[in-house]
Each structure stands twice: as structure tokens, then as C-alpha cells.
């Protein structure tokens, strides 16, 4: 009536399909954009064809030419050079914010997640409170009132972004805390500090690192928004947000003046997002069994 027979074999001819994620084209492009941005941020003044602040009122509002590849703005400054040099404030600040928020978030996140109890309650409530504040609005008010410069804005955003990191790291720590390897470390009689630093933290770091990239992307946009509003960087500074705001009246005359920094912001923000996604996908699997 019935029967299963499985017999004989010949070499299989199936299309090869990869199980492991390969580096995709968007990731490569994102890496190139970020690398270029980094080079500009570090060596901008040496790369730029012109002094970004050199005014040439006779050549103002010029379209693209061989001398000025992207034309000049209303004061006759070279737009390409300003965009290249502007990478410094555009990338340095967000990098500091992402790094600072990550450090604070990792410290309090691991502490709250591992210790639990009172420390967790205090930290989590503070996090909830800061989280509830509209970050950009606070930054506008504080920087506006204090009249502080770029680094005050950076410092403020570190504090305002740290709760995101704290929450994520706390959740990841909670997951690691009851793993047998952590319990084994407790049974050995290792100090809590050592368990947090050597056992828990390295295992939540990939998530924190990936999140730092996302913070970076947010920070680029936030800082650019602040400079667009005239807060943070001083007037006349070559900065993408500032350039965007200064040139918005010239949009019909020299669109390059606003488009160049605008496109730069979008490109870098998107690239950082892509890199962050890629990192979180890959780092999360690292070291995990099977």
C-alpha cells in the first residue's frame, strides 16, 4: 500500500546561496562616504582648494567654474572649500556626542541592569525623566539663553542622548545577567565590579557600539539644526548647518550654496545609519555559540 524509498544519489546541482551575510554594496558606499567625511574633518584645510573664509566680493554668487567648482556664495567664498572644511564641526561634534553618550549609557546601563533594586530604580527614573524632555527644544533654550558656543551644545546633547544608550544597555545587561557564565563568576566570588567590567560589559558592547552609530546620525542632524538656527557655531563659520541657513535666501540664485552642505548632511547621516545597522547585525552574532 505505501512505502518510502530513498535511494541512490548524485552530486547536487543547486544554485549557491550564502548563509552568512556578505558585505553589501550600500555598506561599501556608506563606508566610502564616511571615510571621505573623516578625511575632510581631519585634513580639510589642507585639501580645500581655497581658504574657506577668503572673501572675494567681485566674484560673489558665481556659478560653477573651473576655479570654483561649486561656485561662490554671496561673500564670494568658495562653496566647495567651505563644505570640505565644514566637515570638521559636522563630524567632530556628533562623534563626541555619540562617544560620550555611549560611555555614560554603558556605565549606568550596566550598573542598573546588573545591580537591580535601588540603583536600578534611581537610574531608570532619571532616564525616564530625561527621555521625556524634548532634546532639541531644551538645547535651543539652554544654548540660546546661555549664549554658549559649539561645545556647550555638544555637551548638552551628550547628556540628552545618554538615556537612550542607558536604556538599551540596561536591557542587554538584564539578558546577560542570568546567563550561567555570569552566575559562575558570582560563585567564584568575584567582585561585582569585576563581573560588570569583565563579563557583562564586553558582551553588551556590540549592541552599545551599534547604537552609538545611530546616536551619531541623530547628533549630526541635531547639531546642524542648532547651527541652522544660529546657535552653537559662531556666525561666518564654515559649518554645514550654518551654510544651509546662510544660503537659504540664495536658493534661487546659487542653489549649490545650500545644496552642497544639505546633501553632505543627508549623505553622512544615511551612511552612518547604514553602518550602524550593519554593525549591529554582525557584531550581535559574534562570539555567540552556533
Amino acid at each position: 500500500m505505501s512505502g518510502v524509498v530513498a535511494a541512490g544519489y548524485e552530486p547536487a546541482q543547486a544554485p549557491a546561496r550564502s548563509r552568512r551575510r556578505r558585505v553589501s554594496i550600500p555598506v561599501i558606499l556608506a563606508a566610502i562616504v564616511l571615510l571621505a567625511g573623516l578625511v575632510c574633518a581631519l585634513f580639510g584645510p589642507w585639501i580645500a582648494p581655497h581658504d574657506p573664509n577668503e572673501q572675494d566680493l567681485f566674484a560673489s554668487l558665481a556659478g560653477p567654474s573651473r576655479n570654483h567648482l561649486l561656485g561662490t556664495d554671496d561673500l564670494g567664498r568658495d562653496i566647495l572649500s567651505r563644505t570640505i572644511v565644514g566637515a570638521r564641526t559636522a563630524i567632530l561634534g556628533p562623534a563626541l556626542i555619540a562617544f560620550g553618550a555611549m560611555l555614560i549609557g554603558n556605565f549606568f546601563g550596566v550598573l542598573a541592569g546588573y545591580r537591580g533594586g535601588g540603583s536600578d530604580t534611581v537610574i531608570s527614573r532619571i532616564v525616564d525623566f530625561v527621555y521625556a524632555l524634548p532634546a532639541l527644544l531644551i538645547a535651543i533654550v539652554v544654548v540660546g539663553v546661555l549664549g554658549g558656543g559649539y561645545f556647550l551644545a555638544v555637551g548638552l546633547l551628550v547628556v540628552l542622548f545618554a538615556p537612550v544608550d542607558t536604556r538599551i544597555v540596561r536591557a542587554a545587561t538584564l539578558e546577560q545577567r542570568n546567563r550561567p557564565y555570569v552566575e559562575a563568576a558570582r560563585l567564584l566570588g568575584l567582585s561585582d565590579r569585576r563581573i560588570m567590567a569583565r563579563h557583562v560589559w564586553p558582551n553588551v558592547l556590540p549592541i552599545a557600539l551599534a547604537n552609538a552609530f545611530l546616536t551619531f546620525a541623530f547628533a549630526i542632524v541635531s547639531l546642524a539644526s542648532l547651527s541652522f538656527l544660529g546657535l552653537g557655531v559662531g556666525p561666518g563659520t564654515a559649518d554645514w548647518g550654518r551654510m544651509l541657513s546662510d544660503s537659504r535666501n540664495l536658493l534661487l540664485d546659487v542653489p549649490e550654496a545650500a545644496l552642497a552642505p544639505g546633501i553632505a548632511i543627508v549623505l553622512v547621516a544615511v551612511s552612518v545609519n547604514i553602518m550602524g545597522d550593519w554593525l549591529s547585525e554582525n557584531l550581535a552574532d559574534r562570539g555567540r555559540a552556533r
Partner: protein, 590 residues
Amino acid sequence: MRIEARLPEGARTIVRALDLDVAAGETVGIVGESGSGKSLTAKALVGLLPPGVHASGSVHVNGRETLGLPERSLRRIRGREISLLLQDPFTMLNPLLRVGVQVVETAAERTREEAVRRLAEVGIRDPAVAGRYPFQLSGGMLQRVALAAALASDPDILIADEPTTALDVTTQREILALLARIQEARGMGLVLITHDLRVAFSICRRIYVLYAGSVLEVASGSELEAEPLHPYSLGLLLSEPSVERKLGELAVVEGSVPFPDAVSGCCPFVPRCAWAAPACMEGDPPLREVGSGRFSACVRLDDIRPELEERHRAVEEAVPPDEPRAGGEGAALVTATDLRKRFARRRGQDEVAALKGVSIEVGAGESVGLVGESGSGKTTLARCIVGLETPTDGRVLIDGIEASDYSRLRSEQRRAIRRRVQMVFQDPYSSLNPVMTVGATLREALSVGPDSRTTEADLLARVGLPTHYAARKPVALSGGERQRVAVARALALQPRLLVCDEPVSALDVSVQAQILNLFAALRAELGLAYLFITHDLAVVRQVAERVYVLYDGEVVESGPVNRVLDAPSHPYTARLVASVPRTDPDWLEA
């Protein structure tokens, strides 16, 4: 049939060559350790291979070729002609649908009456069950529901992939008996895939021994048990601890299962075989008929058959070691008195009592077993003793130190306790920090240990691992090797008691035997005491001399292992002992 996985590194063979036939009304077993390719074989038979894995050859169901059929035609065959029952009942059912709906989803008649009738066939008499959701049912019940669903379209063949591995022994027996009964009543073909030889012996008429993607032996259950005709089958059989009697030292197959491609062009068992010879390296050994209906892939079988037989007999007839030392001869190392532990459930609900007044004692140098099914509280008890949980009530005394609440101990007391009691966890894959090398893990443990002269190399040597393993990360280690490292880490503190929570249940039988031997050797060498938690009576017979049987948070029986297992006095213990699979055909009936 052949199964290959396509990876970026190139194709990897999973199953080299498998010939298998199942007649109507026949029960066939596929037995293999992890990595043998048994689960993918099951999936290949029903056309459910994951993407990137490809089978070639042919599969005939009712005389029709099904390999390579389009999905649409396969769908008509699945369930109706060939059906699959999976291992984990907890993830097999849709959590959002009532079980009755899932049972009749593919049946001709989708009524509640039909669902109740189908559930009754798998032994669920209560018609209310059909209206429940999966999370309201126990594992055994879920596996019955899953079986009813797999049978809903009245298949000619049922493939059961480790259907009882996730279940307790008593439930396992019920499910196996149910499978046997239904198979017989329906005249259905049954393919049972398992890692457990005892399960296969109890129910299968014919057994295929699968190893690294190749079938090494085909025999009936009783023949295989009486006289295995392949060195691997023999090794597998001998490394299985016996529930009936204690063995001096378990026979061990060294090493672990290789990837099929690593052993292509020769007998796959060559690297671990004691009888390997040049002849074994000449091509894939074919299955040869060596008796009526018996096949073996050993090319040297004719030469070594007497030796295999002798080896088997030697172990079978080995004199059991001296009656183990009676318990309580040394001073009590750990005493737990009337321990109670309640866990608060979600707000507004009752508390759950995990321990209801448990008293146990472990003497110095004594090996004590703690046996129970899931939910019996055995793990909670262990965690209370080592201080990972604080008991709600009751006392724990460790070498004279009151250790009921670790948070109240002074730090030097806590250190003293840590150096007396250490623990080995169940899951070897998560008990080591994945980012630290083995050496770093051991050095860290030594840094808080009492002896500064011991090095990580000493520890590795003690657990039988080569020194160069210190540079490796846990990912590069097999399950058995990781468990050795976990033991080494615990030994760094030179404890006098190791609490072992199911330390071998996640390992293959041949590796399990290695680890059990390691525990025995360490005990002989260091005079360690063990509190050995396990659900496996055969394991407890080998490692312990005294045993506590835990049921629903209470100790229902305790005493010397031999007495408790041979002449259980409590009905629960008796049921537990009777649930261990036996070849005896009456076992399933009882």
C-alpha cells in the same frame, strides 16, 4: 539520497548516502548523535529542507517520486501521505489558536466534534482541552495535540523527529506507547528519529545507525543490542550508561562526530576507531549484508567480529565495582534543613511553591544524586545551596557555616564557602563567557583561588584538555570540551563539593560517557563530593551512591542508589524506574 548545504565556502555534505525503506505498518528507527544528519533526513523526506540545503537522489512515497516536486504538489502529499512530528511541542503549535482548531486544520471535517474525537485518539479524553490555548497545556499534552494534528489527514507514513526528547521520562513512555499503539491500529509506517538507543530499542523493528551522514549499520533492535556489528554501534551501545547496574568505568569513544567532508573517501569512523586499518581508507565502505536483514558498513567486519564480540562481553560481564561507601561516613559537608522556596508570580496571583520543606545532607567525599522531573524543584534546591537563590525558609549549613542567606554573610565567610562549594551548569554553550579565552577564564578563577602556584595548564591537564586550548575561545570548543573547561574553572577554587546541575544532559552519549568518567576520576583523585542533579536514572546509577528523589518540591524517597532503583518504596519512584525505556516488548504495554 544525499543532502548538501551550499555555503559561501563551498558545498558541505550533510548526508552522504542514505538508503532507507519503510513498509506500511513498520516502525523504523534512525539513531545518531548530533551532527549525524538525522533531522535533515527527516526534513528532506517531506521536502522541508531549509534554503541553501539541497537533497539529491530519490524519495518515493507510495511509488511516486517526490524529491524535486514543486511546492504545490508536495503540499498535497504532506499530511495526507507523509506527515512530520517535531521535537519541541512548545514551539510547534501556534500560540494564538485554540488547539482544537489546529488539530482539524487539515482534516476533511473541521468541526469541534471531529477535534474532540481526534484528541481522544491520542489519549486526551477531556473534551474541554480542544478549547484551550497551547500555553495552558503541559509538554506531554502538547505533544499529544501535535500528534493528533500530524495524523489529522490520515497519513500513510509518520516521521517523528525526536518526539520525546523535550519531555520527562514518564511522559516519554506514554508518548512512545501512544505512537506504537496508533501505528499498529492504523497500519501506518513510522520513522522514529532519535539520539537515544534505548528509545529506539523499545519501539523500532529495524534500526539504522547514522554517523556523520552515513549509515553504518542496519539491524533489528534486539540484534543490535545483542551483537552490534560495527565498531561505532558497539561504542554507542557501550557508552550508554546502564540503569540496571553500576559499571566501573564507562566505555568511551574518544573524540566527537566529524563533518562528513572531513572523512570523505574513507570509513567515517576511522579517526575514532580502535580497529582502523589501511583497508578502511580505501573509498566509502558500502553497506554489506551480513545476515538476514542485517547490514554493516565495516569492511573489516570479518576480521574483527570476534574482537567486537569479546569487547562487548567484557563490558557486559564486568564485575560491578565494590559496593560504594555508605553515606554519612565523613562529617556532613552540606546540610539543608526544611528548605522552602516560594516564587512570586505576577502581581495579584498566588505564589508558587518550588520547595516545600526539603532536607538533604551531603557528607564529605560522598556522591549524592538528586533525581526528579522538570518542575520538581531540583534546580531551585541546588541554587539555594550555592546561594544563587535565597530560600524563603529553612537552613543551609555548609561546613558549619550558616549559609541560608548569602547576603548576610561576612566576606571572609563567603570566601570560605566559595572554596568549599562550586557549581557546574547544564548548558555548556552559555556557561563560559564567549569573549574570554579559556586561559583567561581559568586565570581569573585562579586569581581568587586559595593556591597561587596552580596554573591554568594544571587545570586543563586535570580535566584532560591539551595546554594549547588556553588560547581558544569557547566558540572553537565542542560541547564536551566546554563542559570540561567549566569543571576546570570550578576546580580552581579547590572546592570539596561540586554541585552539578544536569551537567551531561545536553551532550551526546559518547561525550556524556567521557564526562561521567572525568567526574569519577576527579573524585578518586581529589576526594570531591558531588551533588549530582539529573533526570536520568542511568546517570545517577553510575555517579552516585546515595539518592534523593524529588517530586513536586518534596523529597519522596531517599537512600542508597542500588536500593532505591532496584526496590523503590514510593510509588512515584517506582513509576520513574518503570519509565526507563527497555527492549522488552511488554514495556510499552504496561
